[in-house]
Point group: C2
Chain length 339, copies 2
DNA sequence: TTGATTTATGAAAACGTTTTCATATCTTTC
DNA sequence: GAAAGATATGAAAACGTTTTCATAAATCAA
């Protein structure tokens, strides 16, 4: 069923049908109504490929989501989509595995859909200008990663992120302020050029600034962000018989799993062990005890991301690197130590 | 940058370039290499619209997601995507608001992308053949809804679901078996032709079969599936000073929020009040106490959905209505009542 | 050698739309 | 009642690709 068939059924030309569909003037009411009726009857929907070929495309922004889905991504995606649609851009999304090259994927999406800009969710923090070159000057923004510790090359793309290092440092500092000195950390990796590593650096900085010696025995690397692994990591940590009064866990869901491991081992929360995290998963507001965590401002981050990207697309400004504030959400999982 | 430009740069015809890109034989190694090199250099990516126009499309299956995102949808979407890709179909997705007509959206997506079939996540349970007609014979499957209580019209589409009514009944029966007779229920709506209503019917059936009088005072309608509302609903229920020893909450996240409300009111879990739910949210396996819930087999449901849909597309069988088994995951939130 | 295959290449049609241009009819305006 | 403008319609070109058909060169079989 093509526009030709519709035209034939109505006894008019394809031009007229096209005009009706695109609300051009200069079509008599009589014909317009008839065409609309036939279109309705036949459930006719134009072939997007054909339209795409001939119409100057509507401006579109693409989103590349890298790695396995997690709660943060799942919150960000619809928010980004709305923000993009609200600014009159169309939205395309492509999900890729961690093993794929995200910039290559971005370039492919950009080219094939004629994108005006690309957002990357879940990349690294250290793209070089040479790597970004593949995008062929399509504006590119990285949502999630930070320039803390000067590890980012700022010349060829924008970013919106929280300051992972600073948030981690603040989280650990909060524990220290509450009298904790033996603080464990549970993270995915100490050296993957992403969130995990940055938060690890924040942890170490906080210890250092407070004159607390770093103890490698209190560092648990899980390899990923899963709850299973976090649970096991905490179990293993406990089995070491190494004393600690608090744990900084790099994500909320991992923190929940760690708390369960503590509870299963007979530890009372938060008395026997305090737990603090970074993220802001909704459900952790309702667990018992409520998780103390530094909340990433998801909605604001999504909006800022689209705004920053549009600034480049619409030539209002050059690359920018916006660092958003995390907010401490105090729950009941951190306890003041008396000694 | 089109295929023409590439051809010109290589001094060959567009035909040859096209052949290179589609791995046709009968291109000399010399030319093939040259073309590939230029394509690489120019970051050339073919215009999808043009390809779409002329190539017999790869078979594709579409997914319509209706309503606000929730944890169940977020789990199902990537699983469905993999299952679809694994069977060699391309995947398209479109998210719509509850206010939009899901069948109309499905029809539009199907037409414009030339879909072989459509999956609907989050619809109602009672589509009539007349409504489904808009799809113009594109196979259609509803994932999530059930035929319990004979409320489904089976003639014009397939479905994969859990038996919401039966699961709800089993959940309530479990509470009764543990000695509970004053059982509250927290749900979104008692009459919205979807999950909520079906689970409510299961609750009532269980009570009836055990000779327990139905008490409307123990029914709390929240209006949606949010944790905020569930929390408030439980608070309100508690303020009624109406005695109850257990609560059946229709979703895991709502159950978590209810448990928090109980805890905040000084009730000890599960001693002062047992809680049971249906869903199987990962995180509820790690909360304290672990939530007792009937787990929806997400992965299996996704696989079955794609399989059932392919059965129709590939003419192996007619419409089917598969009801998947939920599994009781016993946690610590249900307590045997001693009296 | 001849003719038949196989290999290699290009010209042009086709896909389903939109849009430009041309044309025809209908209103105005004087 | 003629010129000018507004309104209404259609023919055909254009978009970027794939594919069919034609043709040419190279290889093979006798």
């Amino acid at each position: 069923m093509t526009i030709k068939d519709i035209a034939a059924k109505c006894g008019v030309s394809v031009t007229t049908v096209s005009r009706v569909m695109n609300n051009h003037p200069y079509v008599s009411k009589e014909i317009r109504d008839k065409v609309l009726k036939v279109i309705e009857e036949e459930h006719f929907v134009p072939h997007v490929g054909a339209v795409d070929l001939v119409k100057p495309r509507t401006d579109a922004i693409g989103l590349i989501v890298r790695g396995t889905r997690n709660e943060f991504f799942n919150d960000m995606i619809p928010t980004l989509e709305s923000a993009i649609n609200d600014s009159g851009y169309a939205f395309y999304m492509s999900q890729i595995h961690t093993s794929e090259n995200e910039l290559r994927a971005a370039a492919a999406l950009a080219k094939s859909k004629g994108l005006k800009g690309v957002i990357l969710l879940g990349g690294r923090y250290d793209y070089t200008p040479e790597e970004v070159a593949i995008l062929d000057n399509v504006p590119f923004i990285c949502c999630t990663f930070t320039n803390s510790f000067g590890k980012i090359s700022k010349e060829s793309f924008s970013s919106v992120s929280i300051d992972d290092g600073r948030a981690a440092k603040a989280a650990v500092q909060l524990l220290i302020d509450n009298g904790h000195r033996k603080i464990a950390i549970i993270l995915a990796s100490t050296s993957d050029r992403s969130i995990s590593e940055l938060r690890f650096l924040g942890y170490k900085q906080a210890l250092e600034e407070n004159g607390i010696p770093f103890d490698a025995d209190l560092v648990m690397e899980t390899g990923d962000f899963s709850m299973e692994r976090a649970y096991k990591a905490m179990k293993k940590l406990l089995s070491k018989k190494k004393e600690f009064t608090a744990a900084f866990v790099i994500s909320d869901s991992m923190a929940v799993a760690s708390m369960k491991a503590l509870d299963d081992a007979g530890k009372k929360l938060p008395n026997d062990c305090s737990v603090i995290a970074i993220d802001g998963v909704k459900m952790t507001e309702y667990i018992i005890p409520t998780l103390t965590t530094f909340v990433q401002p998801r909605e604001a981050m999504a909006k800022q991301t689209v705004e920053s990207l549009r600034d480049i697309i619409e030539n209002r400004s050059d690359y920018s690197h916006v660092v958003m504030k995390t907010t401490l959400r105090e729950g009941g999982s951190v306890k003041k130590l008396q000694n």
